[in-house]
Amino acid sequence: MRNLMSLKKRAFAVASALAITTTALVAVPTTASANPVCTNKVIFTECVGATTDGAGYVIQVPARFSGTLFLFSHGYRYPINIPASIPVVGGYTVINTPQPAPGQNADQITEVATQMLTKGYGIAGSGFARQGWNADSGLKTNVELIGIIKKQFPDVKHVVAWGESLGAFITQALSENNSNLISAAGNLCPAAGSVEASLKMAGDALWGLKSFFDPTIQGGNYKSVLEVYTDIGRVLTVLGSLQAAFAANPITPAWPATSKAPAAIQAIPSRSALVLVAAMSGVPTQSASFDGATGPGAPGSQTAIQFAAAISPALGSLENIAGAAILAIMATYDIEQQVGGPVFDNTATNYATQLGDGLFEYSSALSGLDAAQGLLGFLAASPRAKADPAAVAKMRALVSHKGVFNVPTLTLAATADNVTPSGHAQWLAERAAQSYLASSRNKNSRLANSWRSNNVSLWQVTPDSYTKFSATGTPLTQRGVNGTGHCVTTTKQYLAIAEILAKAAVEGKIVPAGAFRSSIRKAGGLTYDRGFSVPLMKFYQN
């Protein structure tokens, strides 16, 4: 079993993915400037500056410029500093550094940026004026930045907007509201729909952890950052306790000492409660280390099958849920600050309905039907979170998506993304199909899921089986498994997507044939099938 240190590393990785810093560490003016400061870097020209909202930006255009520039929008960065004393995620300082290209870390961002420039693409990105959920301000920033780009580089013929996670949310909003400014869009590991839809999975997961394992977890209605820090600490303590219990007895792991669940509920293995939390929230039970299909021992043996069906989903949930829960705390606090009150409300949520067929699909992991129904009954009787209607109204007034595609758009999602589940991309795909079929000319068409709807979905699908074990049968920690984690994209995949988008920008459409298929085949790990489909987020299922 993995120790707390490895949990810390994984949780930090999640935090890093959310709160990435850019490579370039570009010095940008701290105040808005009408004219950027440009420097000739021999093989490219770099301009830095700030938009009128004070957001720093960087633009890099190669000497051999193709005429296509990619505007990148980075993902969610925590909006508050986190003291080093907070475990796992402590030591974080709010960063407004502009990020001109995607990547999981500074090295990869540099690599992608360099390759993009080498291929003749211009790149640009803002750091945005504020961190946290910033779709509204980010959209305005990008609109202004495109104007600056076109003024500074008149030979820019096509702007491709692309972004990751929250950055994809901003990109889709840009595409819906200002499509005249861009020629194509790329939504990578997207959040989509609305802030409410984006927060629900994490909110449900956090509430489930609170109800089963520590009712002192606040889960929202935060009055100070201190309460946020305390909640992070409590969640990590719960997850640490569960991890230790799994290590001691993976079949019947004990409940954390902080749990106030009655003895009858604690007689059910805690792993089953954890799987229930994940399954009812929509947190994937497959993670980077656990595939839900493999066990130690001889393939097909009872030990292997039992591990795969009963234990692996719990360990996968544990590995995934830290990212979801910490995001829930940080984003909930962030949104509450923006709209003036609590916004998570599950007073009307039926978690049994939300679990759906998961009740039977995870029968072994849930320790049987009686145990699952006992756990659901306990949840049904647990205190619910109530939102402030005025705050919710303000939240709903924040920028949201209609799901229309005014420019050729490519969406990329991982089937086991634990922060922005692939159901976001599915929602976009279904909205695209609905929009296409809404036209009387297309109402009977079978091509709604094709490029004709102006949205092509690419998927990172988890391998058939990938959990690895030591010689003694201990599962080994892994990272970077295709289809798992949040925004885990290889450089080859980024570049393939860039090539597809650049072609789409020029041609005005993405046709998933010929060069498209060649690009994704060479990149590896990308699946295109116009019929491929994943479950929508629970937000749309309850």
């Binding site: 097909g300 998961g358 145990a371 491929f532 479950p535």
Partner: protein, 433 residues
């Protein structure tokens, strides 16, 4: 030397010819998995793992019957190519393998999917209904699959577990009133369906033992039998999977505990019992137990369907012992051939589903009665006959007329009638349209 102009005209001619060949080979309405020569079908089943004994014979039996049909002209000239993937009876693996079948192998339809949890995982995660991918003749009796709104592209083969429990209740009330009656049931949707059926029929048990799927073993069976014996159960219903039934019978026999066993259809197969207990004589443990079936017994060589299927099995699966699992596979395959024929000469997924809805209830098969499938239901067969197992593990009808007990998954009554079914198509090769 060929001139450039001539080269161009040759190339153009080649291109035109190639296009013509391609155009003639592919029907205008070409569907995924259907070519001019082949219909590609797929299935995921436990070929390895703890559920494999017995269940691993179902899909190969389907393939054997399809091979027989292929050797006799196929379906409107197309050969059926069944791709079998091993899901080890793990839901996540069923998702993975089904995705492979759809994305990589490009199958036209799924057939004979096995296991409730697995198919629920496939329907919810692979979303075959919204993708209009047919899944024919599910080998599970979970009543939820009859819901056409939720599972519009899935079609059942087995009677539902609810119906089976209602039918068992009817028989128990008729024959064992006043006896202490007890139940072993799986603690999942399989057991929940059974409990629903027993409750609907008003049958209560003096002792109910539930086990979590995957935990069944000789060790856990000791506790079950101790409880049944302690409660002085005179009639014990084993509504369980084969491995649990085998464990219960094995432990009870060793302990000298001999109630009247009544076995649910899922766990009562003599060859599976022998494998599960690693005992070539284990079928004797079934002797005297009461069981139910919706098809003739696999050992009933006087039955025309069984006789034909045995011949097919001997020729196309040499060395494989014919048993209930083989029978289930071949019956599903025969039904599939009729569904494909009914879907037309250029079948599409839509026409296949439409054919199932409009003509499925007329298909011939070894099962008694008709499929209950329609535009408003995805139910399979609806009735069972009762028999008693003999020393050889064969289920012998309790009455010469082979009375069929039939009911629904709701509150409808259990009715009785003599067993009827369509005669075997000539040489076992369907010719319907």
């Amino acid at each position: 030397m060929i001139s450039l102009r001539r080269k161009k005209s040759i190339l153009a001619a080649v291109a035109v010819t190639s296009f013509a060949l391609i155009a003639s080979a592919v029907p205008a309405n070409a569907e995924v998995g259907v070519s001019s020569t082949e219909i590609k079908l797929g299935t995921t089943v436990p070929m390895t793992g703890i559920a494999a004994p017995g269940y691993n014979k179902v899909a190969p039996a389907m393939k054997a019957y399809f091979d027989y049909i292929n050797d006799n002209g196929g379906v409107y000239g197309r050969k059926i190519n069944l791709i079998i993937k091993d899901d080890r009876y793990i839901p996540q693996e069923a998702i993975n393998k089904t995705n492979e079948l759809i994305l990589k192998d490009k199958v036209f339809a799924l057939v004979g999917q096995l296991g409730t949890a697995n198919h629920l995982a496939v329907t919810s995660k692979v979303r075959i209904a919204s993708r209009n991918i047919p899944s024919l003749f599910l080998n599970t009796g979970y009543s939820g699959f009859a819901d056409v709104k939720k599972f519009k592209t899935s079609f059942m083969h087995f009677p539902t577990y609810v119906a089976e429990a209602k039918i068992l209740s009817s028989y128990i009330k008729e024959n064992f009133t006043g006896k202490k009656t007890c139940l072993l049931v799986q603690n999942d949707e399989f057991g929940a369906d059974a409990s629903k059926g027993f409750a609907a029929a008003g049958l209560t048990f003096d002792e109910t033992v539930k086990y979590v799927s995957g935990t069944q073993s000789a060790t856990t069976a000791q506790t079950w039998i101790t409880r049944f014996a302690g409660a002085k159960c005179e009639v014990v219903v084993l509504f369980s999977v084969s491995s649990a039934t085998a464990a219960a019978l094995g432990v009870a026999s060793a302990a000298g505990y001999k109630p009247q066993w009544i076995l649910g259809s899922v766990g009562a197969d003599s060859t599976t019992l022998r494998i599960a207990l690693n005992n070539p004589q284990a079928q004797a443990l079934l002797n005297g137990a009461i069981g139910v079936s919706f098809m003739p017994d696999a050992l009933d060589t006087t039955d025309e369907y069984i006789s034909l299927f045995r011949e097919v099995n001997t020729k196309y699966s040499p060395g494989v012992a014919f048993d209930t699992n083989v029978l289930v596979g071949m019956n599903a395959a025969m039904l599939t051939v009729q569904a494909l024929r009914a879907a037309g000469k250029n079948p599409t997924r839509r026409s296949l589903i439409a054919a199932m809805e409009s003509k499925g209830s007329t298909f011939a098969s070894a099962a008694y009665g008709n499929l209950a499938v329609s535009k408003t239901s995805r139910a399979g067969f609806t009735g069972y006959w009762f028999g008693k197992f003999n020393l050889a593990g064969a289920l012998i009808p309790l009455d010469a007329g082979r009375t069929m007990y039939t009911t629904d998954s709701g509150t409808g009554p259990v009715t009785k009638a003599s067993a009827k079914r369509a005669p075997l198509p000539a040489k076992g090769i369907p010719t319907n349209s």
